[in-house]
Point group: C2
Chain length 450, copies 2
């Protein structure tokens, strides 16, 4: 289906660029989908990519630009003049055009916008740029097929031939009244089956899903996934139709959200990829490691406080990594399930029920694990009393860790903070310190003498 | 847009069911989207859900059944006769019908299939059931609009009126030759704009994306996301058109895959939700906890081996949780980035380059963290030599943990095992043990005397 992108191809293209074999390059890439060309440009070095972009037609390169890796696109745009950028943008849909402009440094944004010749397009872009990028307004495009309820079917089809030239994908035809307010929809199927002289208002389907322009992007994704929609109209507070969001943009939102949550859970604080520079990777990873380090130093401090136990109960200090690991694992498991539940809106039921469930769950897990400890203790030469102490304090640590792992995301979510921050190193570090402290306190109560 | 699903509504519905107020229930739910009704049924208790399903029309309940939470659906289906199930299935698209039958116990599957009256539909379902559920064949539906290249546009529109009744969403019209092989596509827009007596073969677009029926579901998702497709035809090894996959099914695949990876990273071994029973949650979480427990016991064993250090260097034992935490965090960060990179096909470049990058990254992170240790040691009353020992061994542990975290997923991936298993408790536990061992070995070399 598509050209296979491998080392040989990249070498071949690099050679063609080096010899400036323009015709050969164009032939090679002419039949390729823009997403494949973008993948190739992500792989060749930066100068070669710029060369190829300048060589190909604007009509193709604008789509290619959209598909490029963000960092590559940023570099290429730096090397284009504002006039060249405006030419590329002219070929795009309004949502993609607005996204590209938004990526530019502020001084360049104004200059590029002023270079856009189509006044209507310029106005559309400026309107879109005003919206929050994580809202429906930030996702939507102005291109869609919109008809007036008072038209006949014939006039509707005629208008559509004009409008549909602009629109890449026609799903529903949106029907508005004289005030521009969304009042219903039609499918192409409906139009095909309808009598030519019929009136739109007779065949319009009044039941139409829509979202408000200020709705959060993740909420839009949930609506579209729940109702299996492929496009959804966007209205303002007066129900006036202002734009449309298509499923391909939502698929990207879903993927990005999933990757962000996964990285937060692993203690990576910004959007990085395996092929990023070392500097980028350090910036993303070091902060969480420093947090973990201070957690570990906290544990050192706690253990210094209990060092009297070393003489009689040195094994307590051998068990600290085990206790910390259990506290961490249990905490991460609890928080991961809650974070996913919050994302899917399935955390219902009272907080008290959830508390009881986690305690019950932790009791069962803790008892099983405690029994394993008791079974293993004699093999390490520990007394039954000591084994029991370890098992019981581990049980308490597990219950507390599960409760913390459950409630921290819920509390964060209620305060409007992304609960996914509560998974990963944040939870493991705090549970480590607290778990070790609790462990020694209980051991002291049960064994005494220090 | 939709009814708001809250506690009051659930109580209201429960009351209506208790008093068997059938008309009231039907009125309340008549205007609701099936996805919303399914959400309501997920919330009411099981008997009430069954009552409502039996009350509503098959045409609506079949869609509702598809949207229900898996566990709720399983229970409801248990309470329906094979004839009743066949009636529900009759209203569904072939891919959904096949999915529901596949969820039933094997003995029931045969009986339900035999109750299906439409022979063609029965044959379709049986064909779909033969495919692997994680392949394109397992995702596709047989319903689509297919026209022959030799027809006129008029005949095409006529045939479509028949075929399109079955098809919920018409995106592309697929064009086949006399052997049934996919040779191109048309959009409804093309048909609208074409002269009535024209021939399909004159307006067909030969360039059409497609996937092979045996392609892995995740690969299908990547193709559809890359090329912004909303539907893709599926062909067999002879290029014969056998089905179609729509974007809404792919959105579900993407979401499920993301959730599965996230849960694996948190050490949860099967698909659970926050509202599952305690028994389900224990089964999913305990195995990883036991793994972590044995890791911790391994650490105990290692430390027993070095217990001679207790007299002179007791602080080594206070630092073990810190070392374990660093090894764990670094390992998880490395593996998370690699796992995401593998999923997005962006882990390119030689393995050697990757090795060097991780070592460089770990050196920088490790040196910064080591300097913090050196700065803090005097405050805890530790000698510079001791602080340096801790810092250096932590640096080695970090480098090793990063390499392990990088290479384990890559090796798993090359052997066809889901690399996501390598994140979470698996990595943290093995890095804990190895890290603590390495720590003591290096401390012994630098400090001596034990």
């Amino acid at each position: 289906m598509a050209i296979e992108i491998n080392k040989d191809l990249i070498t071949q293209i690099a050679a063609l660029v080096a010899t400036q074999s323009d015709v050969a390059i164009q032939e090679l890439l002419a039949e390729e989908h823009f997403a494949d060309v973008a993948e190739i440009l992500d792989e060749v070095n930066f100068d070669e990519a710029t060369y190829i972009i300048k060589l190909l037609d604007s009509e193709k390169t604008s789509d290619i630009l959209m598909e490029l890796d963000e960092d590559v696109r940023e570099k290429i745009l730096k090397n284009l003049s504002v006039k060249e950028i405006a030419e590329e943008i002219d070929e795009l849909d309004s949502d993609d055009a607005a996204d590209i402009i938004a990526e530019l440094p502020e001084e360049r944004q104004e200059k590029v916008i002023s270079e856009i010749e189509d006044e209507e397009f310029k106005a559309d872009i400026q309107e879109l740029l005003a919206y929050d990028e994580d809202s429906a307004g930030g996702l939507m495009a102005k291109e869609m097929v919109m008809v007036n309820e008072n038209w006949t079917v014939t006039r509707c089809v005629k208008e559509m031939r004009t409008q549909a030239e602009e629109v890449t994908r026609v799903h529903s035809i949106y029907v508005v009244n004289d005030e521009g307010q969304l009042i219903g929809r039609l499918s192409l199927k409906d139009l095909l089956m309808a009598p030519a002289r019929g009136n739109i208002s007779k065949i319009v389907r009044p039941k139409v899903d829509f979202v408000n322009v200020n709705l959060d992007a993740e909420e839009v994704a949930k609506v579209m996934q729940k109702y299996d929609l492929e496009a959804i109209p966007v209205v303002d507070d007066n129900q006036v139709l202002v734009g449309r969001i298509t499923i391909d943009d939502i698929v990207d939102v879903i993927k990005e959200e999933a990757e962000k949550d996964y990285q937060l859970a692993a203690g990576i604080s910004q959007d990085v990829e395996a092929d990023d520079s070392i500097k980028e990777l350090v910036k993303a990873r070091l902060p969480w490691l420093i947090l973990g380090l201070f957690g570990g130093l906290g544990a050192v401090f706690i253990m210094e406080g209990f060092e009297d136990a070393l003489s009689s109960y040195k094994h307590l200090f051998f068990f600290t990594p085990l206790i910390a690991a259990m506290a961490g694992n249990v905490g991460v498991q609890s928080s991961a399930i809650i974070v996913q539940g919050l994302a899917n809106d399935i955390v219902k039921g009272s907080l008290l029920n959830r508390l009881l469930k986690e305690v019950g769950l932790s009791l069962i897990n803790g008892i099983v694990l405690g029994l394993i400890i008791l079974a293993v203790s004699p093999l390490i030469g520990l007394s039954f009393q000591f084994g029991l102490t370890i098992a019981l304090s581990m049980l308490c640590v597990i219950i507390v860790a599960a409760l913390v792992g459950t409630f921290v995301p819920i509390v964060l979510d209620k305060r409007g903070i992304d609960p996914a921050i509560a998974t990963g190193p944040f939870i493991t570090t705090s549970n480590d310190i607290f778990g070790i402290y609790l462990f020694f306190i209980i051991a002291k109560m049960m064994l005494g003498g220090f």
